[in-house]
Symmetry: C2
Subunit: 450 residues, 2 copies
């Protein structure tokens, strides 16, 4: 075949890059399971009308067609499309299986999604998302809205990333404030405020007056409100100082302070209340979350979500929930692209077992098997080349150790740390690498010394 | 929404079923990494012409179309389709990135594939495959053909499955034998022999004579050849007894005996030479593998593959390889459908921390945090219900332990094993569950007693 070229918007990683992505996935999954979230996967496809009925017309949907489709076959007649997020499929899964699920249901889901958007940095046509949601039957206690930021903070704090900061707001706070201020098109105001980082406060004020009938004083109050940031309960005092009274505002502020204070106690420094956060999606009804990689704000949010009361329903039964979605591909592409994180080695292998001569390969196989039995990843050199060439095989891949089997004692040999050059006698069913070398792990290159 | 119904051919599991699938994936991945295989993922799509040029016309391909496609946009002009296996995408990836990869490249890849086939048991339109391949630059030593069965045997033997048996053959053995016998359409004979389990030896003999110009004696010799099975090097003697001489047969028999003897030494009882194994695909050139779940042979092979010399090439450079592909969905659907394996519990949670009263929820949160810090998966009860109801929450999910926090001592409490009813005092930063309860694990229900 002619050398193929990448398909724009469908990123792929080299083996060392995949190790970085896999370590991040493992950390997320491990934390989610530690908190009792069940792993689920849904099929990649949903009925097209289902996806479109969610009103996400801005998300360009990929439709599937069988090359050998048969118009008379009911399996082909109903249009299928690739899911563009994991929330809509999960809502469908909950309604479909509700009689066989236990509520509240805590689930995580780590899968690819597809959107036919114009590719650019941080936006891809195929991308990996890692979602957690808690869904109730009929109702869902508020405290799960305080749990999610703590789970995410724990997951991300175990990774050598740039600092991560979560911003939260509450729909009831925004809508109550705008209503108490006398504004009417609350959704319109919310969507306009959502643009503040893109178009700036002056333009937001102009739009509020030109399009949404706000007075200059109302626009000014909205901007004052949207400028409030606080890492503790003082957010309530600062809003109160704006002199707007509304029962929905009071209810939402109680929840917002609850989220901020719970995060301040459990994961100090991770979360701030930021009242300009709006989230575009209509279905949020309470807490909303966005998350920035500090120093990389232009990348966009790497973890967003919120509380929804009405995403899924089945006749009389509602399934309210709260969830967040980590943009794994967005995060990993930045980490790899700017070399913010690397893997300690390029392959899983800890030890390359050298081959003395091709007719003694079985001895090397036995050494490798002995190491693997004790959880030490080992492979045997592909050829009985000169030892220098076998060492280069390890060096190119970042394999830290090369084992030279003894030609006399089956379990004996010498093991060389090819980073230091140190070589010591060893026994294959006893030798242990330093704990830090057992598995590949993430490393943040030290940029301070450069 | 109205209650949705499943889409035929796109299976989904309940949380407890996903735990079974995840445990199998984890075991495969863990073993692959222990042997030094690098994890890779490729995009879900390939250019349509690329997929069709592989001649796999029997695999019905799903074509993608953007709902808002723009005919003038080069990103939309080139047709994209979902991959139907992981071998073709991997071959493309190798050629595309060859300058940045190290050879021989050992890689595993665990991803969904899509085929628009008529769904039936063991065949799905969306299914998970777990592949390992070793690919060389220019050439690839034979010993990797002996490695793959050992890797697979180790991976599968760690799971409580019905017995697994791998059958191997070698293309050179079959083709050399047929040629030495005087037959001409070697591919045709191979494809006819491949049908022996479906249509029986009598019909195979008839087809060989009617369609492929074999004499009755040649057909009889082919059947005698195809009936040979041996778990050791005696396979060579049994073929020799048929009195056919051919240099390709000799070369292939040396390899086949090498694979059988290596497996017999490393993983006794796992592998047999079975000379009726042919594998339909044209690109295999040496060892071919199939794998049966003993007692479930009608399910089809759960792990197939072989040696290929020419799948990928880039002008003058060839990338020969050897690989096998585990049909994870085929395996898991049988295991779940016949309840051959279950998960020891339905959720990751080891301990449910009860809530004494809603205003003491923070105490339960701290207890759960202390357990999680030591790697014990813990969640806090959703509501401060009566303890009986909180225990039922755990019981329904199979959570083995419920922790009742002390209202006086922050780290103290009592922990109840809800299976035995035993309840003991415990301290949250010291208590340890039995090792078998730390993580959910696979259990094969004991059917011998029924």
């Amino acid at each position: 075949m002619a050398r193929p070229t990448p398909v724009s918007g469908f990123p792929e990683w080299l083996p060392a890059g995949r190790l970085v992505e896999q370590a991040i996935i493992d950390r997320l999954r491990g934390t989610f399971e530690l908190w009792g979230y069940s792993g689920l996967e849904t099929r990649a496809v949903e009925p097209l009308e289902q996806l479109l009925s969610k009103g996400e017309i801005d998300k360009e949907v990929y439709v599937l067609r069988r090359l050998q489709a048969d118009a008379d076959d009911p399996l082909d007649a109903s249009g299928l499309a690739l899911h563009y997020d994991l929330t809509v499929p999960f809502a469908r899964y909950v309604v479909e299986n509700s009689g066989r699920l236990h509520f509240p249901l805590k689930r995580y889901q780590i899968q690819k999604c597809w959107r036919g958007e114009r590719p650019q940095e941080g936006r891809y046509r195929e991308f990996l998302q890692a979602d957690i949601d808690v869904v109730g039957l009929g109702d869902l206690p508020f405290h799960y809205e305080t749990e999610l930021p703590v789970v995410l903070a724990e997951a991300l704090s175990g990774l050598p990333l740039p600092p991560v900061r979560m911003q939260v707001n509450n729909r009831k706070v925004s809508q109550g404030f705008f209503r108490g201020l006398g504004l009417e098109d609350l959704g319109g105001v919310l969507r306009t405020v959502d643009k503040i980082d893109k178009i700036g406060p002056v333009e937001v004020a102009r739009l509020l007056q030109a399009d949404l009938g706000a007075t200059a004083g109302q626009a000014e109050a909205v901007l004052a409100f949207a400028s409030i940031q606080a890492a503790d309960g003082s957010v309530a005092d600062r809003v109160a100082a704006l002199g707007v009274a509304d029962p929905l505002l009071d209810e939402g502020m109680g929840e917002l302070v609850g989220v901020v204070e719970a995060a301040r106690a459990a994961v100090p420094g991770f979360l701030v209340a930021d009242l300009k956060i709006a989230r575009g999606l209509d279905y949020y009804t309470g807490t909303v979350y966005e998350t920035q990689l500090v120093g990389h704000e232009a990348l966009g949010s790497i973890c967003s979500g919120g509380r929804y009361d009405t995403l899924a329903s089945d006749g009389d039964v509602r399934y309210p929930g709260v969830g967040v979605s980590v943009g794994v591909t967005r995060l990993v592409s930045r980490l790899l692209g700017q070399e913010l994180v690397t893997s300690s080695r390029g392959v899983p292998t800890c030890v390359l077992v050298a081959v003395v001569a091709e007719d003694q390969r079985a001895a090397s196989d036995r050494t490798a098997a002995a190491l693997r039995r004790r959880g030490i990843a080992a492979e045997v050199a592909p050829r009985a080349d000169k030892f220098g060439k076998q060492i280069r095989y390890a060096d190119r891949r970042g394999i830290p150790f090369v084992w030279f089997p003894s030609t006399e004692e089956p379990t004996a040999g010498e093991v060389k740390d090819i980073r230091s050059g140190e070589q010591v006698p060893a026994v294959s069913d006893e030798w242990q690498p330093p704990a830090a070398d057992l598995q590949p792990h993430l490393v943040a290159p030290d940029t301070t010394g450069d």
